[in-house]
Assembly symmetry: C4
Homo-oligomer: 230 residues x 4
C-alpha cells in the first residue's frame, strides 16, 4: 500500500517557496477530502521533482525527508538512510503525466465527490453548460473550455495496487487528448497542468463540478442543459 | 475567459486597510464557494476602483499588480508593463452596479447554492418568511426587507462570454428596482451595496437563504409559508 | 431591524479575557451558521453585561464600542456619543433568560439546522436516545439529561420585530421548565446556561442533534428509537 | 455523565510535543464532529497515560490539569486537589484497547456519520471495494486491508452510563479480531492503533468511509460492488 505522498517542486527562488507552502497547506481543503495519509500532490519543474516519503503524515514531513529525482526518474538526492524512508509507490503514475502530457504538476486526491461520480457514471463523467467548465484547460485544443462545451472525464477501473494503474492511465491519456483529469472508480481523481497554480485551480473546478453534479442528481436535475427548464 | 478578478477599494486611511484584508481573506468562506481563480470581489469608493489582474490566484496578488481606475473607467494607475497583466474582463459588469445603482461595492461568486437555485427556478428566485430576509436591503423602498415580505431575485441567462452579460444585467437592474442581487443561470450571483461591509453581509444572507432553499426542496418543504404547517 | 449583537461579559481578571476571545471567534463555527450581522452572543455575570452595538460586523467591534449595563438594565457605561452607536434591539430577549431563569449567558443563532427543524415540527422538537442528549442540562431536574430521556424544545412563532418575541419567549420559559433552549420558527434558537462555557457547549450539542435530525429525516429514520431497527 | 475527556501521551522529547499539539487541535476536524465537551482522545505509550479532566473544554485544558497513570491504572500524578478535577469516566473503555489489543492510542468521537451508520445497519457496518479501505489496519492479519477486501465494524448497543459499555466493548474486541474500530449505536465510534499518528489516520479513513456510505445510501448506490454498474 502506498501512503503519504506529497511532492513539492524545486524552487529556484526562496521567495516563491514562502508563497507556496501556505497555499498548499491552507488552501487544499477546496480540492476534495484530504484525509488519512493517502493523498498525493506532486509538483515538478523540468529540473527536479520533489517526492514525499511514504506513510508520513503531511503536516510532519521535513525538508530533508523529501526525495529529489529528475524527469527521467534518476535520483538526485535521497533522505538520510538512517530514517529508512521509502519513495511513494505511485511515482510512476505521476510520471505518466510528465512524459505523456508534458505536465508541470500533478495532483491526486481521494475526493468523496470524485468517488461518488464514478459510482453514478459508467465509462465517462460528462457535464456541460456550467460556468466553472471555463476553468478547465483543454490540452487537445490548446485553450480553456467554453461555457457551452461538454467536458468528458474518462473513468478507469481501480486495481489492487496503485502501481497497476499505470497502463490504463496512460491509455486513457492517449484516448482522451482533451482532458486534464482522469477519474479512478471507487478511488479518486488525477489532475495535471502546466504549473502547480493552474493544476490546483483546475482541481478545485473539477471538484466543484462533481460536487454540483452529486447535488443535481439528488434533486433530479439532469447534467446536460439541452432543452431543460424547471 | 475571465479569471482571477478581485478588486479592492482605495482606502484613505491605512488603518482601514488592516481591518479589511483579514476580513476579506478569512471571512469569505461564508459567501459561497470561492474556488479556482474564477471569483470576483470588487469594492470601490467614489474616488478610485482597485481591480485585480486576470488569471492570478487570489492569495498571490501583490499591491503593485492592481489596476486603479475612476468611476468613468479611466485608468489612474496600471501595473508595471513588464508583468504583462490584463484587467479583469468582467469590469463592465461591476461598473453596471456603480452607474445604474450607485453601488459602493459589488461581489460576484460562483456559489454552488446560487447555481442550484437557478436550476430549480424559472425566471425568479422567490422566498418569504425567513428571518434572514431582514438582512437584505431593498433599494426601491430605501430600507431593509421585513420578515413577512417576499424577496424576488431575477435570474438572467448565462452567455458564452462574461462581457455579453452586460445588457441583460442592466435590464434586470431596471426591471427589479427592489433587488440587491441578480442570479445568472448555471453561473452564480452578483450582489451590490453601498459599502463593502453591507455587501459582504448581504452576500452571506443570500447564500444562507439559497442554501436553506435547496435543503427545503430536498425535504419537500415549500419556500412560501402562507398556510403551510408540517 | 436588529443587526450585529454580540455581548461580552465583564471579566474580573484580564487572564480570563485572553481565553475567551479566541474561543468566541474561532470556535463558534460549531454552533450553527454565523453569517451576516444578524447573530447574537450575550454573556454576563452578576455585576455587568457587555452588549455589542447594532449593525457592526463581529470582527470589527472594538472594546470601546461596547455598552455595559447591570442586571436591572441600567447603563453603566456607553460608547462615545460621537460614534452614534445603538444598543442591540434584542437586549430584552436576552434579559428574559437572566431574570426568568437566572442564566449566566445566552447565545442566539440563526442556525440553518434550527430553521429546518422548525419547518419539520409543529409545536415542539423532540428527540431521544442520542448520546449527545447527555450534553444538555435539564434545569427543572437540576441535572444533565440521561441517554434514554427525551428532550423537548418548544417552538414559538416568529414575529415581525424581534422585540415582539419577548412575551412568547417568557411564556415558553415558564411552560417548559426542563428546557435550556427555545426555537423560533423560520428564525433560529436561543440557548442559555449558567456560564458561557456551558452555554456554548450546549449550543453545539443542540446543533449536532438538529443536524442529525435533518439527516435522519432525509434517510427516513424516525427520531425516536422505541422499537425501531433498520 | 462523562464530559471532556482528552488524553495526551507522555512524550520523552519536548520536540515531539510541539508537533503533536497543532496536529491535535487543527486537524481533528477530519475525524468527525468534535463538539460540546463530549469527545475523547486518549493517547498513551507504555510508560504513562495522560488523561484529561472531566467537563473542561478541550481548548482550555492546561498541562497541570492532566491525570497521569500507568498501564495498570495506577496514578502517577494528579492535578492539584484545589482544582477538584475528576478523571474521565470512560477511562476503563480506553484501557480495554490497551489491555486487550495492546494499543498505543485510542480515539473516541461522536461523529455524526458514525451515528447515522449505526441507524442504517443492524449488527455490523460492512463496506468493500473502496480505496480508502487500504488505510485501515487489520490487526488479525497483521497488515493493512486490501482494496477488494471487506471491512466489518461491529456495532454494540449504547448504555445509559458509558462505564457500562466495558463488557460489550471487550466482547466485540474478542469476537472481531480483524477490526481496528467498534461502533456504538446512537453514540459514536472507538478507534485504536499502535501510535497516535496511525490512530488519527485510521479515524479519518473510517469517517470518510462512513460519510461516503451515508451519501451512497441517499443516492441508492449499494455498499458492495459485486456486479453493480450504474
Amino acid at each position: 500500500m502506498q501512503r503519504g505522498r506529497i511532492l513539492f517542486p524545486l524552487f529556484r527562488k526562496e521567495t516563491q517557496k514562502k508563497h507556496l507552502y501556505p497555499a498548499l497547506s491552507n488552501k487544499f481543503e477546496n480540492v476534495g477530502h484530504v484525509v488519512g495519509t493517502l493523498n498525493g500532490i506532486e509538483i515538478c519543474n523540468l529540473d527536479a521533482i520533489y517526492i514525499a516519503p511514504s506513510g508520513v503524515q503531511k503536516e510532519r514531513i521535513k525538508p530533508e525527508d523529501l526525495f529529489i529525482q529528475d524527469i527521467q526518474g534518476r535520483d538526485l538526492k535521497l533522505p538520510p538512510p538512517s530514517k529508512a524512508l521509502k519513495k511513494s509507490q505511485c511515482t510512476p503514475l505521476f510520471m505518466c503525466a510528465y512524459t505523456e502530457r508534458n505536465a508541470g504538476a500533478v495532483i491526486h486526491t481521494h475526493s468523496k465527490n470524485a468517488v461518488l461520480v464514478t459510482l453514478l457514471c459508467d465509462k465517462e463523467f460528462k457535464i456541460s453548460q456550467q460556468e466553472m467548465i471555463k476553468g478547465i484547460w483543454n490540452p487537445g485544443l490548446g485553450r480553456y473550455n467554453k461555457y457551452k462545451e461538454e467536458i468528458v472525464v474518462p473513468i478507469i477501473e481501480n486495481t489492487c495496487w496503485e502501481s497497476e494503474l499505470e497502463d490504463s492511465l496512460r491509455a486513457a491519456m492517449h484516448k482522451y487528448p482533451n482532458t486534464s483529469a482522469i477519474l479512478v472508480r471507487r478511488h479518486g481523481i488525477y489532475v495535471w497542468g502546466s504549473t502547480w497554480e493552474q493544476t490546483k485551480a483546475m482541481c478545485e473546478c473539477y471538484d466543484y463540478l462533481m460536487d454540483l453534479a452529486v447535488n443535481m442528481k439528488q434533486l433530479n436535475i439532469p447534467w446536460h442543459a439541452v432543452e431543460w427548464r424547471p
